[in-house]
Structures are given as C-alpha cells and as structure tokens.
C-alpha cells in the first residue's frame, strides 16, 4: 500500500478549491500532467473514469477539476469550477465516460485522459492516491507507450537512441536517486522515462534539454 508522499506540503497542502483533495485537487494535478505533455491547441478532451471516480466525479467536481488542469490552472485557481464551461466556449469538445469495470491501472481513483487535435493525440492514465498527490501509470505519446510505476517526479525526454546513459549520469550528479527507467524506441526516436526520488535541479534540466529533442519534468 506504501504511498508516495515526499514533501511536508503533500500533507499540509495543497491549498485548493474544495471539496475533495483526491477527487478535485488530485484531478487538477492529473489534468496538469496532460497539459504539460500536449503543449498544443486542444480540440477534444475525453476523460474515462473508473471505480470511485466513476461513482462520484459529478459531486466532487472532478470534471471541472480535470479540465482546469488540462487548461493549465492550479488547484487554488478560482476559475477551477468554471473550467468545463471555459473549455467548451473555447471550442473544445469535452466528454466524460463512466466505466463500471475495474481500473486498468489498479487504483480506485482512476482517470484516463485523451487529448487530441488534427495532428496529435496523447493519452495519460493517472490515479489520485489521496491528499492531492497523484501517480501516472500509463502514457501514450507520439506512438510510444510506457507504463511507469507511478510516483512522481518523473522526467520524460525524447532522445536519439544511445543517449540514455549520459542523461542518467547528469541526473544522478546532484544526489538524485533514479528509482526506475524505461524507454520506448520507434525507428531512431526514443522516449526515455526516468523516475526519481526528488526533483532534479534547474541546471541539470537545462543541460539535459540541450541533449534532447524535447524534455518534460512531471
């Protein structure tokens, strides 16, 4: 059951708009991961809910919370409750689907977010483990498919095959521990995912960004 809480502010925090840290603030956080990974104009948002999320998303404001995160809002943003309206007024199609089956990523608070436009489609499988803390257990990006263990922080970089070692060395140089890595290789492109015990410092990220096609720190 062991959770993934690292900061005192995972426990005394987040500062957020109510009513539920797992179903509202955690949902904003899962949406925010999708926001960071899409980084283009969105035309369609689909959210698939499982278990507790499927049963209680309406009452907990999970719908607007996830969309708020996708639009880049924070947990304490007073526009959070208006997010679905704001998205639809902006021309984005928004759809929520309740599933009666068990979560494919094995957690009662599961949301799978699909973001699309005419030339890009991504999917993020996230779960909200309590108190606003989340895990990301599935990623489908640019034809790559990865199943991280879940805990954040996590660095995703699009690299040329063979650069993995260099990047891992740079991350570890600042007393960061690599918990797990995985990669997906398509043609000469490689998506590398590195799970860490704490956030890498800004200098390390800037140096690694020089080596990579694209880098996202979740």
């Amino acid at each position: 059951m062991s959770g993934n809480y690292k900061s005192v502010f995972d426990i005394i925090g987040p500062v957020m708009v109510g009513p539920s840290s797992s179903h509202t603030a955690g949902a904003v956080a899962i949406g925010h991961v999708a926001h960071k990974l899409f980084s283009q104009k969105i035309t369609k948002i689909t959210v698939d809910y499982y278990e507790s999320f499927a049963q209680t998303h309406r009452g907990h404001g999970t719908d607007f919370a996830i969309v708020a995160g996708i639009l880049g809002m924070g947990t304490a943003d007073l526009r959070v409750s208006q997010a679905v309206k704001i998205a639809r007024e902006g021309g984005i199609k928004v759809k929520f689907i309740e599933h009666r089956t068990k979560s494919p990523i094995h957690h009662p608070n599961t949301a799978i977010i699909t973001l699309e436009n005419e030339n890009k489609k991504i999917q993020i499988a996230g779960c909200s483990i309590g108190g606003g803390t989340i895990e990301i257990r599935g990623l489908k990006l640019d034809g790559h498919e990865l199943s991280p263990k879940g805990p954040l922080p996590m660095v995703l970089c699009w690299i040329k095959d063979g650069q993995q070692e260099l990047i891992e060395q740079r991350l570890q140089a600042d007393d960061v521990v690599i918990k797990r890595t995985s990669q997906s290789v398509k043609a000469e492109h490689c998506l590398l995912e590195v799970e860490l015990d704490k956030k890498p410092n800004q200098d390390a990220l800037a140096e690694i960004a020089q080596l990579t096609h694209e880098l996202v720190c979740l």
């Binding site: 059951m1 062991s2 959770g3 993934n4 809480y5 690292k6 900061s7 005192v8 502010f9 995972d10 426990i11 005394i12 925090g13 987040p14 500062v15 957020m16 708009v17 109510g18 009513p19 539920s20 840290s21 797992s22 179903h23 509202t24 603030a25 278990e51 507790s52 049963q55 209680t56 309406r58 009452g59 907990h60 404001g61 304490a76 007073l78 409750s81 009662p108 608070n109 909200s128 483990i129 309590g130 108190g131 606003g132 803390t133 704490k198 956030k199 410092n201």
Partner: protein, 293 residues
C-alpha cells in the same frame, strides 16, 4: 524521509531536536530550498487555514451549492456567545473552527488540505482552539504544522490517507492523530508523548468508514471533523497526563492499513453504503442528481 514513527523519534533523540525542527530540515533537503522558503510556505498554508476558519463562521456563514451543508459554524459561534455550552469553550471553539473550515470546503471555497480536503477541518479546529487557550505565537503555530506533517507523512506512506483507499479512518482518523501529536509538542510534551497522543487518537477512530451522501464531501464529513478535533484534544490531554496507548503508534498505523484493505468498496468514498444509502441519504441524492443515478 521517515517510514516509521519509531525512526522519527530515534532521529529526534539522536540530534536532540524537536520533531518540527527535524521536519523543517528534511524539507529543506528534499526541496533544495532555504529555511526561509520552507518556513514561509508553511506560513502561507497557515494563513489560508485562518482565513477559511474565519470565513465559515462570519456573517451568515457559507453554504454549499447543493444546500446540504452550511451555516452550522455560525450557529455554534452564536451558541458559544451565550456561554451555556456543556463542553468548555475551548472545546466549542475547536468545534466551530472544524465546522467552519469544512463548510468552506463543501462550498468549493479555498482551504488547505490537512492531510485531505475532506478532513481539512480537524487540524484547524485543534490549532486555533489551543492558540486562544495558550496564546500561541505565529511561530508556534507554524511549528505545530511541521510536527503534524511529520506524523502525516509516516501515515500516508505506510498506510493511506484517501477515503477511497482506506475509509474515513484514513482521513479524519489521520488528521485527528496528527493534530493530537502536534498539540502535545507545542504544549511542551516530549516526542514520545506526542507519539502516544497520535497512537491514542488514531486507535479511537479505527474502522471509521467513508460513506458520503450523494458522494459529496458534506454529510457526514463536516461533522466528522468535529469528532476528529475533539478526539485529538482529549488524546493530547491524556498523553500530557502521562497516559500511554500500550499499542505503539507504528502498530496502530499497520492496523489501520489492514482494516482499510479489508474495507468493502461500498464504504470507501463511493456513496454506495452506510449513511449514503439511508432512506434520507438516497432521497437527497435523487434530489441533487435526478432519478437516473
């Protein structure tokens, strides 16, 4: 990071530090942040908590969009003013602040999750009551929150703090135990006494289910925070009186985890059991969401 209460106490003993100071240093290391940055962030959390507790008990109070909750903190404030309470006024102030904070949460106002939004009234309930009683400084209140977070981190990492995973024992139970421990330390108790208060408070709430009406964080959540706050005050007093729990804190956390794992899905924040499926609870659900749910 500390995986057990025992290792936390051992470290405090080795370094001869209070729990709150150990947590400030742990956080500085984790966030690569200055002491001031970490301290100021906790000060910000405190200010959010103060604002929410005040808002919920001021004027006409706050009311949730569904109308299920709201206005009770104001009723308690007015009742206190009459001075007729059966409990002492310190206890009633804790009741008021717990109600006020959770009413703001249910009304989708801004709160600080401690450790969760559903249990966000328990810690302010305790903290702002003893602030009045002991005339705590802002610095002491911030120390209180660091101590509470130390126990919360152990609980979250070795058991759970989400109602959907382990029931309300994991939310209000954890919050109550965190508050009890922090109250002991801020009152001058030892880390060991703080851990006894934690163990007693959590033991008392083991088995508490999460059965919200219509799946909303309103009924019974708002008032369960009152139970959490009052239980915390009683357990802090017991620990300060030298009473021990007999079962150590880490074993109580283990018991909570095992109980949570055995708890049926209907009683873990799905709104499919307990108070949620009483005739009145079901009527409220239909009124809010319509027949089809």
């Amino acid at each position: 990071m500390y995986q057990t209460v025992a290792s936390l106490l051992k470290k405090c003993d080795e370094l001869n530090l209070p729990i709150w100071e150990l947590m400030v240093r742990t956080e500085m290391n984790f966030e690569r942040a200055s002491r001031k940055a970490v301290w100021d962030k906790m000060k910000h959390q405190l200010h959010v908590m103060q604002k929410a507790a005040k808002r919920g008990a001021s004027g006409e109070g706050v009311h949730s969009p569904t109308g299920l909750t709201g206005g009770d903190a104001v009723k308690m404030r007015k009742y206190r003013e009459q001075g007729l309470g059966l409990s002492g006024d310190d206890v009633l102030l804790a009741v008021q602040n717990a109600l006020a904070t959770n009413e703001v949460n249910a009304a989708m106002g801004v709160i600080c999750a401690t450790p969760t939004a559903g249990s966000s009234g328990t810690i302010p309930g305790v903290l702002f009551s003893i602030k009045e009683k002991l005339d705590l400084t802002e610095e002491q209140m911030i120390q209180f929150l660091f101590t509470a977070s130390a126990f919360g981190l152990v609980t979250a990492n070795s058991a759970m703090i989400a109602g959907a995973v382990g029931g309300c024992q994991a939310e209000v139970g954890s919050a109550s135990a965190m508050a009890a421990a922090a109250a002991v330390e801020v009152c001058g108790g030892t880390p060991k006494q703080a851990s006894e208060a934690f163990a007693m408070a959590l033991s008392n709430l083991l088995g508490l289910v999460c059965d919200p009406v219509a799946g909303l964080v309103e009924i019974p959540c708002v008032k369960r925070n009152v139970a959490g706050a009052v239980n915390a005050l009683a357990c802090s007093d017991m620990a300060l009186a030298g009473i021990e729990n007999k079962i150590p804190a880490d074993e109580v956390i283990g018991a909570m985890r095992r109980i949570g794992e055995k708890m049926p899905m209907q009683l873990r924040e799905t709104g499919l059991g307990g108070l949620a499926t009483t005739p009145t609870g079901l009527k409220m659900k239909i009124k809010i969401f319509g027949e089809e749910v």
